[in-house]
Chain length 440, copies 4
Amino acid sequence: MPLPQASELTVSTLGPCRVPSPLQERGQQFVDETSRVLVSADTRDLQPFLQTGELPPAFEPAGPRPSLFFDPATLTCGIVTCGGICPGLNGVIRSVVLTLTHSYGVQRILGFRYGYAGLAEKSGYAPLLLTPEVVDTIHQQGGTLLASSRGPQELGDMIATLQRSNVGILFTIGGDGTLRGASALSREIRRQNLPISIIGIPKTIDNDLAWVQRSFGFSTAVEEATKSLVAAHTEARGAWNGIGLVKLMGRHSGFIAAHATLANPDVNFCLVPEVPFTLEGEGGFLQVLERRLANRQHAVIVVAEGAGQEILQDAANQQRDASGNLRLQDVGVFLRDRITRHFAAQRIETTVKYIDPSYIIRSLPANAFDSEFCLVLGQQAVHAGMAGRTDMVVGFWNQNFTHMPIALAVGQRKLLDPQGLAWQSVLQATGQPASLVGAH
Amino acid sequence: MPLPQASELTVSTLGPCRVPSPLQERGQQFVDETSRVLVSADTRDLQPFLQTGELPPAFEPAGPRPSLFFDPATLTCGIVTCGGICPGLNGVIRSVVLTLTHSYGVQRILGFRYGYAGLAEKSGYAPLLLTPEVVDTIHQQGGTLLASSRGPQELGDMIATLQRSNVGILFTIGGDGTLRGASALSREIRRQNLPISIIGIPKTIDNDLAWVQRSFGFSTAVEEATKSLVAAHTEARGAWNGIGLVKLMGRHSGFIAAHATLANPDVNFCLVPEVPFTLEGEGGFLQVLERRLANRQHAVIVVAEGAGQEILQDAANQQRDASGNLRLQDVGVFLRDRITRHFAAQRIETTVKYIDPSYIIRSLPANAFDSEFCLVLGQQAVHAGMAGRTDMVVGFWNQNFTHMPIALAVGQRKLLDPQGLAWQSVLQATGQPASLVGAH
Amino acid sequence: MPLPQASELTVSTLGPCRVPSPLQERGQQFVDETSRVLVSADTRDLQPFLQTGELPPAFEPAGPRPSLFFDPATLTCGIVTCGGICPGLNGVIRSVVLTLTHSYGVQRILGFRYGYAGLAEKSGYAPLLLTPEVVDTIHQQGGTLLASSRGPQELGDMIATLQRSNVGILFTIGGDGTLRGASALSREIRRQNLPISIIGIPKTIDNDLAWVQRSFGFSTAVEEATKSLVAAHTEARGAWNGIGLVKLMGRHSGFIAAHATLANPDVNFCLVPEVPFTLEGEGGFLQVLERRLANRQHAVIVVAEGAGQEILQDAANQQRDASGNLRLQDVGVFLRDRITRHFAAQRIETTVKYIDPSYIIRSLPANAFDSEFCLVLGQQAVHAGMAGRTDMVVGFWNQNFTHMPIALAVGQRKLLDPQGLAWQSVLQATGQPASLVGAH
Amino acid sequence: MPLPQASELTVSTLGPCRVPSPLQERGQQFVDETSRVLVSADTRDLQPFLQTGELPPAFEPAGPRPSLFFDPATLTCGIVTCGGICPGLNGVIRSVVLTLTHSYGVQRILGFRYGYAGLAEKSGYAPLLLTPEVVDTIHQQGGTLLASSRGPQELGDMIATLQRSNVGILFTIGGDGTLRGASALSREIRRQNLPISIIGIPKTIDNDLAWVQRSFGFSTAVEEATKSLVAAHTEARGAWNGIGLVKLMGRHSGFIAAHATLANPDVNFCLVPEVPFTLEGEGGFLQVLERRLANRQHAVIVVAEGAGQEILQDAANQQRDASGNLRLQDVGVFLRDRITRHFAAQRIETTVKYIDPSYIIRSLPANAFDSEFCLVLGQQAVHAGMAGRTDMVVGFWNQNFTHMPIALAVGQRKLLDPQGLAWQSVLQATGQPASLVGAH
């Protein structure tokens, strides 16, 4: 991805910070506002700037500020979780509530239920009052205490709810559709000149947000996904020409599939959205699979949810779901049937076992790695909101938590680079050809 | 089930035992042949016998005998695994190999590959030579080192292979179809008066073998199944009127579904083959589910693979698979679609998440409980074979390992008793009505 | 163990049952009072009775009765947990509370805190009011919601508390010291002719209660213990003459050590209280260990907490702890030091890694197997108490839940039989000599 | 830490690379030699360089090079693992072997056994021949296939072994003592002008290597450590004034303790080497603990292995172990006894449960996160060696794998910054005072 312009990196604020932070009294270290986190640590990107002396593009660092925009004593905050569930959601909710309460002394925190629907008056979902007691042990459970839903709501209705509830900061935890909604909400709020901050906490189990090194839940997902790969391998070896086929999450990016493959050496084929393949033809997937079976009598295939879209023929089935995402065909079921038919037609005995662990994975509580990440992520989101930042997400980049405008985060998707280290390592680990596009 | 007759409990033998067991030299305790394990520990079943003084029906106990039918020095043994994979298969294989080798000094053990197909000359699968080194760590892996297949092979072909390989004892690890095949094989062998023993080791992850208290893999299956129940509960609570639906194994018996339900208190409906239900009607499943959603806004449903067959309409799809088992429709997918349509028709918003963890479960290595059980089960199978028993399985009943004729084991299936303790506890734990048969 | 006399099997009752059970209205199956569960399923034990026609010793079966001693509408119940924590405690508490509430409609349940101390007025620990909401998810946590303590309290003080709190049934969950206390309490209560039932729920992670096939937490303990055995094996193989030494629970009985050994094939020596050994001498432990190292350069040793007491020299350190149990020396630390010194003296390089996972094990939540067991155990305890049984424990024997007088349960300890199946299997699995008593 | 000088970042090479890499034929992407990875992504560190136009300090990136120093066809490689075991060791060994074999076609790889001792002729440990078959599944096991030992060996003896075995590249996997030894070996080799490369792969479960963001095994260690924290919390809550005390690894740095604390919200006190504390005095640890117990009746304490050294009074016990590391007293046992005595003296009833999970943790196989990391780390080490780099380690920094001179890696230790984000988050999460140094 080309480096963003400095202008794209500037985070919006609601206004000057005039309230002294209560953290001042506890000897807290505050962020040095002259510090920035370089977008690129590659010296090749640095060269032009060394010549001009201009500062290269860099992120505002996250962290506590000595002065606040909001007065904690009178502030009400809101939290909402949108889209599919993801390991760590409750950890983020818990961290936001505990940090608001214990670090800043905020007294009133509302948990809006069932996603943006909980912000629409017409839905009639009353918010939960969130206290440290309510969130004390929720991180031990998967899912979200607040429940969720997909899709946007009418901006005016949501703003009316925020005003009626006296909300100063709304923390929205969700994926790119949700964040686009948050950005639209924030822009309308600023147009109306309202003192309401919208802080996004990016939730993408696929880890596909631009300029964000890792998103919560991804590590847990990869860890659990490897168990299905082991299962597929065991099933595959248990039968003559056994084929274990696992579909993993990854609508547009194959990070879960690729990293699970790297963590498990039993995978023979990893199919991701970023690397096209064909079923037919010399060197196409089916022919290579056939060769693998002839040599080894079993095979393990991992396919990301969004892989092979170009070969799913019934384009008419492509619809957009409630969030406006492209409704993709189920490539796993498609491949299972297609492989079965292929070998049946050739009178080659095979046994295909298909595993789709998606709901088992995404409903897990966070593993230790994600738990810690959720804790610190929630803390940073609170610090950002208290300092009057808005229309931004908290990111993580080059070993630092960062502030990033929502527009930059959702402007393009992070994709696996077929020339990059991870995919090259996948090719080495699987032994699959660099291209599975067949010649005709 | 009515108690078996004494005649049904008599185990076949190949002939007198004249070879002293090498275990005699190691101070081994041997089975007291006057001992038997009562089939029923209920005094009501005992009363008639107390009046006549006749011995009530009882199993021959498993265990080492001081004299053997086979001479270990010249004996070759074979092992074969048939049907679907199951946690613990490798543990049983390993135990049989180690016991034959270390306890008896058997020198040659053949692992026939890909189920009964490995015993058919036409398949051309060469057997593996099994040694302690080969099986040393296989119990750490799920599946079966020998791979498997479904379906029978021609008896003459199999006997020819056994004779050509000079096999004296064949250990067949498999389910009821496999055991029926083993029994037919054993009868033909005895008809031909050949000195070959067929020892069955019952493999049924569903735990549905008559007069067998527990089968290996069942405990592991229940343990892993509970994880999917947690996932379903998390998904269900994450959305308005969320429904988590989990299909578990249990073609004819609902033991896995019932016991997983007892181990996890989040289940609201447990549907098993033994308890009929209807979808429609007053008090039928859909109406009760609707009431549950109205009260609690989420529901968790567990359905055993073989439940609700009477309501699967397209009977034409019922086919028999390669092992001759009834090919049942996938009740999980059926219910998912049916529930979704029902609520859509009523314009009630729901979100149904369907989880089918079957392959993940059955491919696991055995848990500690099953590991130990597999170890001891394999030891008993070897003791039985060395003593010339044949056409039998090793069972476990009233705290003892037992010998049981195959005919008795496969004569009828063990089923959940709707009036029994386990199902009554399920009703208490779920709160579901005793009957989900709707009135019309 | 010799079979108990019929008189030892008779369970005490507070008086006639005149209150119809509310379960009658729900079509509940009740226990057939003519049914009993045979103590022995071995036909050798049956022979004398077949001659006389007399009924052999048998347990009263557990389960719901159609008539009750207590009126649920006015009944208050109490629960107390004593001694060390054990996986499943919260599951039992939860099951007792839910069964009392949902099956019988009992309105007031008190959780006495910190063991018997919570029943002593002088301690000043107020009881918790237990409701279905309070116990809803406690089974997901290890330990006990009620906390615990060791040691008895003054009987009069406890009875006064029960009377002041109006408690009709007290469920005491604890080990043999606790149960002896419960029995004494029950006898004093009956001497005073008070309508208070004492129902014991046996808690012994060591699984050493007489005539009880399994106790809750044992399966979880064995499962977790095997992880330490794997660790010990890994450490042992990681160094020249590496020795992995694991101490497991088992003060008087080696069941955890033996069954963990059977579930894990890496153990070379299993030392239990029931099988004496010596360190020194020809054929003593140290010499055999030395030979093992010479042959294989590593060794894994499992020692039960109570093994080798006869060789712990400093008898002066033997004290009784607060519960009156014999205070044993820490055999694990002793062995670690003794082995290290032995090989140092011989100038043989070794590395000893000592692992004591006891607190990690006993603080776990119950695994699926124990979870289900705790659920049903708690139900049976409630049924027994409602029917006016007292001075008894709920047991499990020959596939049935049973009632058993406390005196019988604590009269003798269940021990590993060195001639029995389990220990013989341990010897085969480890390859250790049947005797490690050295000759001098 | 102050930024290193450019000279400290220069990696040594054995000579020019004249052998074309076999990866050229497979369309491999090679490293751009003009690229460097900035040491600091903080713009404050960049400012001086923007003014001068000079390149800031930066690491050489890891990765495959188009030309090699060694000819794979004739190359022999060696691998050795030193020091304590750590999750992922086998994964690194496996990755090195597979990459050498499959990517470069190296034919002969020797695994030296038992650490540097395996390189000393006098030890007499013959090396293992490592092939893809030998290492195929070793990553599923904890520990190291090659076994290990501590301490250095004589340089001349080791060089003689390398020459006799014809080793071109030696991969040494170990901690800072090991790496110092590797550097000395490399310097002596270059002094003798021998064509032998020494590539270090840093192994530190404590994650305390300077300028290395993460080391393998650390993530697994933190994940497993949290289980002991849960156990400690459960034990603590199970008794009146229960105290759960867990000792975790961290000889000089408290990263495991701090990150496990962040991943688990039950910890009340986290004690690390970087933050001094006293037991006595107003505001000292014991007084604050006493206050905690008075308020909440239980406490969870995590102590890193190297914490509180200044208060361990018996300095005489300080010795250096075989690797020359400072032999620290066992702070866990010390604290357990000290806390027990303190409260006994005050006649405050407490129960202290002490858990030391170190061997259980370090013997685990790598989790998914570490597995993947080990795979890629091993690949990078091979690329570096093939290109003639020497006296270096493979690092990971600012999202890139890097080359770093051993001298820089071992020049100083990475420590927790008491003013940094992680420790500040620990203070917030535990609620412990910033200082536990008591006033007198």
